[in-house]
Amino acid sequence: MTAAPAPAGGELPAGLRARVLEASRRARAAGRSVPEVSEIAPVEAFRRAADALYGTLRALSGEDWRRPAIRDLDVQGLVGHLTGVEHDLQRALAGDPAVGRAGHVESTQGAAVRQAGRSPAETLGEWHDAAADTLTQVAERDGTSAIIALHGLELPLNAWLVARAFELWTHENDIRLASGLQAAVPDAATLTLMTRLAVGLLPHAVAGTGLGRAARVHLVLTGPGGGTWDVEVGDGGAIVPDPARASIVTDAAGFCRLVANRASPAGMELHITGDQPAAAGVLAAAASLALD
């Protein structure tokens, strides 16, 4: 058999590159990660996060409950904080405007300090009941798209449920870290909702941090729960240049830790190309999304 001489690089037929890329995009839309993950409802993400935290808390020793966790709170106080958040969310669902203006930490500090001197079982039971009440109230509502004002933010209830799943996961890992346990990672379906929410909020976060210039940033979140987005950030109404000025590649779970303000860009596996200041601005803005 006489083999045709193989072409060297750069000898591709004209138009082959464009043809291949176009056919590929037709076969699978850009942006969506594979393997595809079954969609779950935001309320299911919240339920799963609550179940995961409950499992972690039930396995703690009495000593673990007294370990320092975050701010001035031990593990027990942190669980009290979460009980306070559930109660605030329930007040918001009932239409109480006061919790819309309240601070996330200040408003729940009373519930946190109230745990001192109580048994872990009492604290656990109170939080577990509060999370169950939230699920009941959500189930009794006519839909989950209504805008809810809570702790200085106005978001659709669906987004709040994902944000709550985000917070439960974050604090579960605070507790696991305090207790010497390995960090947990949400399942891919929950993580998908979390990354979508965080990416959707990025432009607002960037506006809040004053990145200033209009920019399009190509954000690639790898691994389960990941995806690809071209995020437009900067001045409202400004024309965003195309193509993207900067590209950021990192894994989805790591990005969520950044958004939760539990990781810093310096400690992450990041691959940044293009406009470094624009990328740094987006990463700083991501970390500012945390309510703590």
Binding site: P13, V20, L21, S24, A30, S33, V34, L221, S247
Partner: protein, 186 residues
């Protein structure tokens, strides 16, 4: 820190079409060269290249960076696609020859079809020509005459089991020749 291939694949899985363009720019010429080595430099080679990259884009998780380089993986994909092309061309040629025998006066095919056929068919025919006589004979009878194994055995005057084993050997040799061409491509 992930290696380049692992990172590229993770980006592909995340739906990053910029990564796909990077992979094509890095390996497109090599994959094309491999395809040309098997099916010739007509549009069949371009079809192979397209199939290889579409497959990678749709199923990036099928590539395991721990098992080898992305370049090798793409070359294996190219080899499989190209051999599939050759096999289907073998079947098509055989079908057509039988058809022409039965229906003389069939209108000629379009110039494009002729070019594609000429590229691939000449490669295939050359590979068959280089087979040992006994193996070439059973291939010709089976593919070009459209005979069953039993009929091949009768026509060649050999036991049916021998016909089957010669066919297997001949096909394996054809694949080996095509593989070697592919692996020798840059």
């Amino acid at each position: 820190m992930r290696g380049t291939d692992a990172l590229l694949t993770a980006r592909l899985a995340a739906g990053d079409d910029h990564a796909l363009a990077e992979v094509f720019d890095r390996f497109g010429a090599v994959v094309y060269g491999a395809a040309v080595g098997v099916v010739g430099d007509g549009s069949a080679a371009q079809d192979v290249v397209q199939d290889v990259f579409v497959e990678l884009w749709r199923h990036p998780d099928r590539y395991d960076p721990d098992a080898g380089s992305l370049r090798t993986y793409l070359l294996v994909l190219a080899r499989n696609r190209a051999v599939d092309t050759v096999r289907s061309e073998l079947r098509r040629i055989a079908r057509q020859q039988r058809h022409f025998r039965l229906t003389p006066g069939e209108p000629p095919r379009s110039p494009g079809e002729e070019v594609l056929t000429a590229d691939v068919a000449s490669t295939v025919r050359e590979a068959i020509r280089r087979l040992p006589d006994a193996q070439r004979r059973v291939i010709e009878l089976a593919y070009f005459e459209g005979m069953t194994c039993r009929e091949v055995a009768l026509a060649a005057g050999i036991p049916e089991g021998t016909a089957k084993s010669r066919l297997r050997l001949a096909l394996a040799k054809l694949e080996t020749v095509l593989d070697r061409q592919l692996l020798e491509s840059p």
